[in-house]
């Protein structure tokens, strides 16, 4: 071994000892992340290429056969349609209302502060609990909402029991817990914008609308991008309300892809199909998130 090499090795001995310490500090968390987060994703794509072999037992490689079967299945197309309609409505609704509320609540006077605290209350309410509460409220015969409608002379509605209304009820439940949650993120973003900017704009004679458009929106970009992306992923993967309120019905009208995936895996134990659906869901969410990022970044330039 040449002297140079030995010296080089010596040089790295000190470094690698320190590196070794770093790896040891990283090891437990990194193992957890790889085993329970990264590997499942890889496994989804690999597993979707295999199917149960009834002759030999176990599983065998089938290529894209699972995907072809899914694409031939009308239930899949129906679920996809329901998922897309649901997301086209629920995401803009939640984000717009959350943004309006955040702007209105971004003051520092006392009454605003009190209202702001009230809006934090739903943070304790999970989607599961929200579904439980709205299941009672939306009961067609003895629910509070129908009683409220009757009070104004509007006849009782079937809500969750109607194929044409059930999906909108899921939108309602998801928004009820989603809006305050995303509003909190936007409010945190708004509070990072220095008040001086608005004061300066006011002196220059800017209207409220102008300062919203030219100060608030550009400076809120980071928070808004985060909320748009996180909200979209959450809604594409929404599960609890469908499980608790409708089980995908009536007449498949609320059979979101996430619920279809769940029932394939945990009701019918058809894991290859469930993994195929998971990978489609993952890819679809990824594509939509990338599109959103593209649009939001374009506006910047």
């Amino acid at each position: 071994m040449s002297k140079k090499k030995i010296n080089a090795l010596k040089g790295t001995v000190g470094l690698s000892r320190r590196s070794l310490v770093a790896y040891l500090f990283l090891l437990p968390s990194l193992t957890g992340l790889i085993v329970f987060r990264i590997f499942p994703i890889i496994y989804t794509f690999i597993g979707s290429l295999f199917n149960v072999d009834y002759y030999k037992g176990g599983t065998s490689f089938v290529g894209f056969e699972n995907y072809l079967n899914v694409l031939k299945d009308p239930i899949f197309w129906h679920s996809l349609k329901v998922t897309l309609i649901f997301n086209l409505v629920v995401n803009p609704v939640q984000i717009t209302i959350a943004l309006i509320l955040a702007v209105l609540l971004n003051g520092s006077n006392r009454s605003i502060r009190i209202i702001r605290t009230l809006f934090l209350l739903p943070l304790g309410v999970s989607v599961t609990i929200a579904s439980t509460i709205w299941n009672i409220l939306l009961n067609p015969n003895e629910g509070l909402i129908n009683s409220f409608l009757n009070f104004f002379g509007i006849p009782s509605q079937p809500f969750l029991t109607s194929p044409s209304q059930a999906l909108w009820c899921i939108v309602l439940v998801a928004s009820w817990c989603g809006i305050p949650y995303w509003m909190m993120f936007l409010l945190a973003g708004l509070q990072d914008i220095p008040v001086e900017y608005y004061e300066a704009a006011k002196i220059d004679g800017a209207t409220n609308w102008q300062s919203f458009w030219y100060i608030t929106l550009p400076l809120l970009k980071r928070a808004l991008t985060f909320v748009v992306v996180a909200d979209t992923t959450a809604n594409f993967l929404l599960f609890a309300p469908v499980f608790i309120l409708t089980r995908g019905g009536p007449q498949w009208s609320t059979n979101l892809l996430m619920y279809e995936t769940y029932s394939n895996a945990f009701v019918y134990s058809d894991y290859p199909r469930a993994l195929t659906l998971t990978s489609i869901l993952l890819l679809m969410t990824l594509v939509i998130v990338l599109l959103e990022l593209r649009v939001l970044q374009k506006e910047e330039s």
């Binding site: 770093a22 437990p28 987060r37 739903p122």
Partner: protein, 278 residues
């Protein structure tokens, strides 16, 4: 004049959404203190009585405390605490490594951490189930805790916090011959109290609110997490009394609120902002 109009519009909008957000919660709270027949009687016709807890009774809470639901509440708290202890330890050490060490592969490993917290749990429920079954962990406490302790967002929180602690302290300790473990354990961890609080909140709430994973990974009634318990109460509507169900909804929302409200600052400043910057 225009200014007044803007102000009025503002408060009308806030009022409408305030009603939408608060009323369902308020009605649930009030009704949980009423006997079942009174709740049903007061729903229709709609009147002020709908929102007044008269006749007042604690019957629903008595039934709740004597039934199995409280067991789920305590079990969820236990799972939450165990997750906090393990999670703080392993995520803070990882954050320490990223903040104060240079080592080969750092960028790639950091990418893995960032990617991991962009993936929601629901997305990987099916493959994770298969993996946990391989590991023979289904129906154990390990199935509930192990997948939840390594948390990319917590690593990131600690990384950001440790990064801002000056290196002089560390250099001095190295010269004194302190081991890396001691530097982490006796200097860095005690200094990072705000990050510890934020990360603990994050870990606790992630366990308290989790639903799909405990639903599929654990079948035993003795290990039923709180959200799963309330879902089963809702689904078995015919055998669950309405006022007990409402009381269960109140109980399971009040506990996270009791944690969030005093620690609001950490909740928002901690992981909300670091989540957005990540």
């Amino acid at each position: 004049m225009n200014k007044v109009l803007v102000k009025i519009t503002k408060y009308v909008v806030l009022f409408v959404f305030g009603v939408f957000v608060i009323i369902p919660f308020f009605w649930t709270l009030v009704s949980s203190f009423k006997p079942m027949n009174a709740i049903l009687k007061d729903i229709a016709p709609f009147s002020l009585k709908t929102f007044v807890p008269i006749p007042f009774t604690l019957d629903s809470y008595e039934q709740l405390f004597s039934g199995g639901f409280m067991k789920s509440v305590f079990f969820s708290i236990l799972v939450g605490i165990l997750t906090i202890i393990a999670g703080i330890l392993i995520n803070s050490t990882a954050g320490f490594a990223f903040a104060k060490f240079r080592f080969p592969g750092k960028k790639i490993i950091f990418m893995i951490v960032l990617i991991s917290f962009l993936i929601p749990f629901e997305a990987i429920a099916v493959p994770l189930f298969i993996i946990v079954r391989w590991l023979n962990l289904l129906n154990t406490l390990g199935a509930l805790i192990l997948p939840m302790i390594a948390n990319g967002l917590c690593v990131f929180l600690f990384y950001q916090f440790f990064k801002n602690i000056p290196t002089d302290l560390m250099e001095a300790a190295i010269i004194d011959g302190a081991s890396w473990w001691r530097i982490y354990w006796q200097i860095f961890l005690p200094l990072s109290k705000p990050a510890v609080v934020s990360a603990s909140l994050l870990l606790f709430l992630s366990q308290w609110q989790s639903f799909l994973w405990p639903l599929v990974s654990v079948q035993s009634q003795n290990m039923r997490m709180v959200q799963v318990a309330i879902a089963y109460l809702t689904i078995n509507e015919r055998t669950t009394l309405l006022h007990v169900l409402l009381a269960a909804a109140v109980m399971s929302s009040v506990i996270p609120l009791l944690v969030i409200f005093p620690l609001q600052r950490y909740y928002i400043r901690g992981f909300v902002t670091s989540g957005m910057k990540g």
